[in-house]
């Protein structure tokens, strides 16, 4: 199917993005339910659990927030927990920077809404589509909205019935995001020369991952890759 090559925002794009997100639904539901189940065990109320999924809407950071969820909230541990969440999600700053040229002509209010739904999965879908020459911003938005709905709904069964699959590792589901990322990387592939910064990014990320606990490795590696991209050529 030909993709629109001029910047646009269409219903057809929205539906295309929704369709591209389909392969990820099972994984999202499994992890949404895992979050719901873990939230119950931590003693979160139903409203708190759903608010986390609906408004924070960032799986890894939600899980880590649960791990450090205090019995009693104080201003200090609110700041601490928020800082941890921000560090885990700092990679989104770079994801946003990478798609900014695509969003340039968009109305500001629509971009503000669009970005609320920005997450790894729809960013990857949008980036792969954009790399293939597509410019319909509806694809990014459609994938984002649909994945948000699936994530929020996926939280429900976990809250009420426990995780849908108690041992996701048995089916490899704990690796679904890295596998999906790798598949998308092969979509972005345009030969070794443009891929040199990616090698730098991967190596720096791995070294930082070994030396520094936490999720900073994504940010460090991606920045190193961008710098390599600017310097090389």
């Amino acid at each position: 199917m030909p993709a629109p090559t001029r910047p646009s925002f269409t219903l057809a794009g929205f539906l295309r993005g929704a369709r591209y997100s389909l392969p990820l639904w099972p994984g999202i539901v499994v992890f949404g339910s895992a979050f719901g189940a873990a939230a119950v065990q931590k003693g979160l109320t139903f409203a708190e659990t759903m608010a986390m999924s609906a408004f924070v809407y960032a799986g890894a950071s939600q899980m880590v927030a649960l791990e450090i969820w205090p019995q009693v909230w104080t201003p200090a541990n609110i700041v601490g927990t928020t800082a941890v969440v921000a560090v885990i999600n700092a990679r989104m700053i770079l994801m946003g920077a990478a798609i900014q040229p695509w969003l340039k002509g968009e109305p500001k209010a629509r971009t503000a809404l669009n970005l609320f739904f920005l997450t790894d999965a729809n960013w990857l879908i949008g980036t792969g589509y954009h790399a293939g020459g597509g410019r319909d911003v509806g694809v990014l938005f459609g994938a984002g909205v649909v994945i948000w709905v699936v994530w929020v709904l996926g939280t429900l069964p976990g809250y009420f019935a426990g995780a849908l699959i108690p041992d996701p590792g048995r089916f490899g589901l704990d690796l679904i995001m890295p596998i999906f990322f790798a598949v998308m990387l092969s979509n972005l592939w345009k030969g070794w020369r443009p891929a040199r910064p990616w090698v730098v990014a991967g190596i720096v990320a791995f070294v930082v991952h070994i030396l520094v606990p936490g999720y900073g490795f994504i940010l460090a590696g991606a920045l190193a890759g961008a710098v390599a991209g600017a310097v090389l050529e």
């Binding site: 969440v85 490899g172 994504i218």
Partner: protein
């Protein structure tokens, strides 16, 4: 229950949601204020693949042989079929089989 105790969880979640939204939005806002020189353009062009590589490689190496072979299987199927779902299923199946085999 004091007013603070009643409101604190909502304040905490709102703080986390706001911080995350700022992460989502700030990259776009920042780049819209920066003049895009050729150097920055090259950096931006390298960025998507770099984010993906920086995410995948450490997680893949952490996961050992099943993760590496699962990712390899997914990439091979993707190159052959150009069909994401088939690649994803192949990758997961490879991981599941290797783990079942005790690797």
């Amino acid at each position: 229950m004091s007013a603070w105790a009643a409101a604190a969880p909502a304040i905490a979640i709102l703080a986390m949601a706001t911080a995350t939204y700022l992460c989502r939005a700030s990259g776009v806002v920042l780049m819209s204020r920066i003049a895009i020189t050729p150097r920055i353009e090259r950096a931006l062009r390298a960025l998507p693949g770099s984010i993906v590589a920086a995410t995948v490689l450490p997680l893949a190496l952490d996961g050992g042989p099943p993760a590496l072979l699962g990712i390899a299987a997914a990439v091979v199927v993707m190159r052959l079929t150009r069909f994401e779902l088939a690649a994803l299923v192949a990758g997961l199946a490879a991981v599941a089989l290797l783990r079942a085999a005790g690797l």
